[in-house]
Amino acid sequence: MSVLSHLPAGAQSTAERPRDSGGRRMSDESFINLLVASVAIVLFLAASAMVPNFFQFQNMVNLVTNNWAVISLGVGVTFLLVSGNFDLSVGGQVALSGVLAVWFAQSTAGANPLATGLGLPTWLAMACALAGAMAIGGLNALFVVRFRVPSIIVTLGTMMVARGIAKVITEGSQRNTNLPDDFGALGNLAMFGTSIKFPVVLMVVLVLVAVFIERKTVFGRLTYWIGANPVTSRLSGVDNARHLTCLYLFSSAIAGVVGILLASEFKSGFSARGTLMEFDALVIALLGGVAIAGGFGSVIGMFFGALILAVVTSAATGLVLSPDWQFILKAVAVFLAIMTQTWALARRNR
């Protein structure tokens, strides 16, 4: 089968370069992606059979559009998981950046403290809010990279710090008055003459760009290398610390934008916004086959993982189950996903 082993040792000519013909085995990642996508489709069909009015085009669109925020966060979380690190602070960052954007944009002459802001122009308010979220990302990087504290503990801490700041600024509730009119523009902008809003389009673009980065760029390769074996990557000349810092900043930038868009959509900065989003982002990544040990997983998988979760939860709602069921459904889904993926990979590679 192999032509390679017949080449003379030290043959420098590439003229006889062996053709790596046919039988190119699908990578384990593609295999898992296919598995996850199939599960999503099967679940969708099953739900269509059981739930009335489920099998409709609009419903399919809704499954994606309703989840734009979590899918966007999932992109940053997936990259970090692939590099072998957690980010549980994204939900807190969503709250923080939204609250900051509103506070910065509120006019200076308010009737009470919660109606009084810094009066910055909308674009500047949003830019500063983004910087605020990225400061949390920087804090994550500092503790994980410099102090070598396990990322799970660091990001649980920064989750509380971010949400805590948001609570302090909103005095535990929300700010929603005294905003300039253009503040609500971005989050409610309808695109291409349809009902699809700007954040959804942004999410789609983000996913596509992320897939490109993951598959086609040196940045993507570095992420997998660090996750697969940080010792080897360092001894191969990779600056692990720098790359992980980039990833945490990247993840917090996404969370910051999501928070700002949500604040714009609702024209409010709410300190409890994004609660449990960090958990959902982690759940969809795990459903999508991303391995927490690092070095394995993909954004596409995460996307289909999000669809699985969306189908399961919306079907449950359609079956008139109490919304309280969602927690149990998530638990069962993640458990089954982990067990199946472990089993499927072990079987395939036996």
């Binding site: 649980l156 509380m160 710090v161 309280d324 149990i328 638990a331």
Partner: protein, 328 residues
């Protein structure tokens, strides 16, 4: 030498410092503390009373982290314990049976975690995130739709004894739940120093290979510790439920963070092996003094920020201290 002293005793100074600060800061913004004096007996009783759940958890959680494992589901397990306890009580089940059944539920919850981690070999963080969601979902489902918690009303009434456990003073004005937490802690301190479980937990966290080579069944040790944490969480839920007179399915939310925080404050290393039950108990007192005491100085909405910052500070200081001592 100085570093060792710092490592062993700094937590007592932190506690002392917080108490002193809160005692001299004479602000009684929410009328919580009479005459704004933190050291007034009634305030101390107040703080200790609300501390009972966390104090109950601290020791068992510390032993689990000493063995190198973690349980993120404690908050949900606590909520579920609270709901089960309240549900049984409100339906007329006698007190002894209520307590016994809740404890059995705690054993079950811990055993599920242990099974996922030890038998199915799912990473502890993920396994207990799964059960975090699961236990929370069950707790929510046990409470009727449209009602936020199990409480008196709709023809059902909490029995008179319901508050006995978590609120009414039995000794020195402190309730049963507090004394039980103290008893649990004392038992765990003894267990840590004098029992196979305590010793094997340290060996499992410190050098798993050595532990296995010495013929220790580390899987069984870890399983046992998860069960212990499950029971502690159920008891903590009971205490909270009894204190609040209701079975709130969200009452344990965020408890996993507080538990990690107190154990880190107690000087437990992330890598396992080290850490003392007593110091985690003191860590829990610090956190409760801080959260309750803070209410005299700043509004309640500062709490999340302060806890988060304390968690980061504890993590960073553990890092710095553990680096100093690695010079042998």
């Amino acid at each position: 030498m100085a570093a060792g002293f710092l490592r062993d005793y700094y937590i007592y100074f932190v506690l002392l410092g917080i108490v002193v600060i809160l005692s001299v800061a004479n602000i009684d913004r929410y009328d919580l503390f009479e005459r704004g004096n933190f050291l007034y007996p009634k305030n101390i009783i107040n703080v200790l009373r609300v501390s009972a759940p966390l104090l109950m958890l601290a020791g068992a959680f510390c032993l689990l982290m000493v063995s190198g494992y973690i349980d993120l589901s404690v908050g949900s397990a606590m909520s579920l314990g609270a709901v089960v306890y309240a549900l049984l009580a409100i339906n007329g089940v006698p007190i002894v049976a209520c307590v016994a059944i809740t404890v059995v539920v705690g054993v079950g919850l811990g055993a599920i975690n242990g099974f996922l981690v030890v038998r199915l070999k799912i990473t502890p963080v993920i396994a207990t995130l799964i059960t975090l969601s699961l236990y929370k979902g069950i707790a929510l489902l046990l409470v009727e739709d449209g009602v936020s918690a199990i409480k008196s009303g709709g023809g059902l009434k909490m029995p008179a004894w319901f508050n006995d456990f978590g609120r009414d003073g039995v000794l020195l004005g402190l309730p049963m739940a507090f004394w039980l937490a103290v008893a649990v802690t004392v038992a765990l301190i003894i267990a840590q120093n004098r029992s196979l479980l305590g010793k094997y937990a340290a060996a499992t966290g410190g050098n798993p290979t050595a532990a296995k080579l010495s013929g220790i069944n580390t899987g069984r040790v870890v399983f046992g510790l998860y069960v212990l944490v499950g029971v502690a969480a159920a008891l903590a839920g009971m205490a909270r439920s009894s204190f609040m007179s209701l079975g709130d399915p969200l009452s344990g939310d965020g408890m996993e963070l507080s538990a990690i925080l107190v154990v880190l404050l107690g000087g437990t290393a992330f890598s396992g092996g080290e850490g003392k039950v007593l110091r985690s108990f003191i860590g829990a007192l610090i956190i409760m003094a801080l959260t309750v005491g803070m209410l005299t100085l700043v509004p309640a909405y500062y709490q999340t920020l302060v806890i988060g910052a304390a968690l980061l500070a504890a993590a960073a200081s553990n890092h710095l201290i553990s680096r100093k001592k690695s010079a042998f």
